[in-house]
């Protein structure tokens, strides 16, 4: 038994199994990153998506309109990965051009005492969050309260880093599929670790 999703590829509706969906989505994201956001890139992507829809429709058995993992793998093999395009057609420079990772100021919800303003500033200036907090406290003491005022303004004005992409942006890392994947893996390990710690401490208090 497998869960399926309903997706829209280039205007046609398909049912797709969960594992197949994940692979296809990753593939599409890869293509999107490769072709970029220019008009030309969008057009190429639309053409490729239309072709993928067609490949998924022409299922030889014809009995189901469910996309499975082997089908997705076959589609990817037929269409090829961005690396193989550039090998065959010698793209001198990827269409996306130079995508410099841009740092943006967010509030960091992961390292916060109040709102994450200091955490975000620390990530932006690439210093330790503790030092940032000390700086804020010192400024507040020296200026007799202006620091608090500045803090409040930042709290209101600076958005919170809500998703993984924003957290990567906050640290000035490129938002790519690979990076997001790596980031999520690290997060998952952190959670595992803290859960194990929690269990150990729980066992201690019982015993």
């Amino acid at each position: 038994m497998k869960r399926t999703f309903t997706i829209n590829i280039s205007g046609s509706v398909f049912h797709i199994e969960e594992d197949a969906y994940e692979v296809l989505q990753k593939y599409m994201l890869n293509l999107k990153e490769y072709f970029g956001n220019s008009e030309e890139g969008k057009e190429i992507l639309a053409d490729i998506e239309a072709r993928i829809a067609e490949l998924c429709t022409s299922d030889p058995t014809g009995k189901s309109n469910i996309i499975t993992l082997p089908m997705v793998n076959e589609v990817i093999e037929t269409m090829g990965t961005p690396e193989s395009f550039s090998e065959e057609a010698l793209e001198d420079e990827p269409l996306t051009g130079s995508k410099k990772s841009r740092k943006r100021l967010y509030r960091d919800p992961d390292s916060r005492v109040l709102s994450g303003v200091c955490g975000g500033l620390a990530a932006y200036f690439d210093i330790d969050v503790v030092i940032m907090r000390i700086i804020f406290v010192v400024i507040t003491l020296v200026t007799s309260g202006v620091g608090i005022f500045a803090y409040l303004i930042l709290w209101i004005a600076v958005p919170k880093a809500k998703n993984t992409a924003q957290r990567l942006e906050m640290r000035g890392e490129n938002v790519s599929v690979k990076n997001i994947e790596k980031f999520i893996k690290e997060e998952a390990e952190d959670i595992k670790e803290s859960y194990q710690k929690f269990r150990k401490s729980g066992a201690f208090s019982k015993g």
């Binding site: 053409d47 269409m79 090998e87």
Partner: protein, 110 residues
């Protein structure tokens, strides 16, 4: 790496020439173009073709029109523009010049 680059560069020029050649006789849907190029072992993966088609179109050598299809969504049919036709003629000439040049060099050394 250098030899790989030379090979890839030769291939790229010839690939564009081949696309124009395939489209010279009649307007075609991308899949027909892909089939011809795959038969000739010019491309292996289909994804290579779409960026090239779009670029040739933006360069004014190709144009396309939508045509209804009996199964599935409408399809893009590509055809040569007037510019594309004259460009293809130029390519034909330089291709035969190149072949002649290579053959001459080979013969002299044989």
């Amino acid at each position: 790496m250098k030899t790989e680059n030379t090979k890839a560069q030769m291939r790229k020029g010839v690939l564009e020439y081949c696309i124009l050649l395939v489209l010279n006789s009649e307007p075609l849907y991308a899949i027909n173009i892909i089939k011809d190029l795959k038969d000739a072992k010019m491309i292996v993966v289909e994804g290579t073709l779409y960026p090239l088609l779009t670029r040739l179109k933006n360069d004014g050598l190709l144009s396309y029109r939508w045509e209804e299809s009996t199964q599935g969504p409408p399809r893009k049919y590509y055809e040569l523009t007037e510019n594309g036709k004259s460009f293809l003629n130029e390519l034909e000439i330089s291709w035969s010049d190149l072949v002649k040049a290579v053959n001459t060099v080979k013969k002299n050394r044989a």
